[in-house]
């Protein structure tokens, strides 16, 4: 299914893009996270997911659906 991936902070640096819409094979947030962490380019950067602007806890597993907006958020540094 097709989803939009949004990248922030250091992930933009490494991947060279802010956002892409692409097909994914994973059907749950846990499976997707696992897949993303295996990516050599970004695997060393800590990040969490937000799906449709809702943060996903470490131990939470959410079913993904067509058109989801999935954000990859490295550690916050505001203030």
């Amino acid at each position: 299914m097709e989803v939009t991936l949004k990248y922030f902070g250091q992930l933009v640096d490494v991947l060279g893009t802010h956002e892409e819409t692409r097909g994914i094979e994973q059907h749950t947030s846990a499976a997707l996270l696992d897949h993303l962490k295996k990516n050599n380019a970004i695997g060393h950067i800590p990040f969490q997911l937000a799906i449709n602007q809702k943060l996903i806890d470490q131990d939470e597993n959410v079913t993904l659906k067509e058109g989801d907006v999935i954000a990859l958020l490295p550690p916050y540094a505001g203030g």
Partner: protein, 142 residues
């Protein structure tokens, strides 16, 4: 939804104006203001020249709205303002402005500290520390 994000540094005039706007509210007896200023920290012999801030603005605004509501529940405040810079903020410039007002002073200190911590912890803001030689590293809140 109140506007929080400001492109570029928060000027001292902006802060002065924000204070002036509260002088018609004569039930206020105490204000407390927190300002975050970009430090020229030395890392391996190089100084931070600036921080470039970006954020996930939709999620940030949702989180800031929740923080604001919780603060009014938790503390007896008359008003509250939060501003954060986006873009490149040079060392010495102000990037974060939290402004809390109450009838009496007792409430304001804890409210400010709580708000600053909540914003740092829960708002998806990212900071790239740019050194004098144009190399950079990604800032992580401690």
């Amino acid at each position: 939804m109140k506007k929080v994000f400001i492109e570029g540094p928060i000027s001292s005039e902006f802060i002065g104006d924000a204070i002036a706007k509260h002088q018609s509210k004569t039930s206020i007896g105490a204000h407390n203001i927190f300002l975050g200023q970009v430090r020229a920290d030395a890392v391996d012999g190089k100084n931070v020249a600036a921080i470039e801030y970006t954020c996930y603005e939709e999620l940030a605004n949702t989180k800031l709205h929740e923080i604001r509501e919780a603060a009014f529940e938790k503390f007896d405040l008359i008003c509250m303002h939060i501003y954060h810079s986006l873009g490149t903020i040079k060392a010495g410039e102000i990037c974060f402005f939290v402004f809390v007002s109450a009838v009496r002073r007792k409430e304001v200190y804890a409210a400010t500290e709580w708000l600053v911590n909540q914003v740092k912890e829960h708002t998806p803001i990212f900071g790239k520390e740019i050194f004098e030689d144009e190399t950079h590293q990604w800032k992580v809140n401690s």
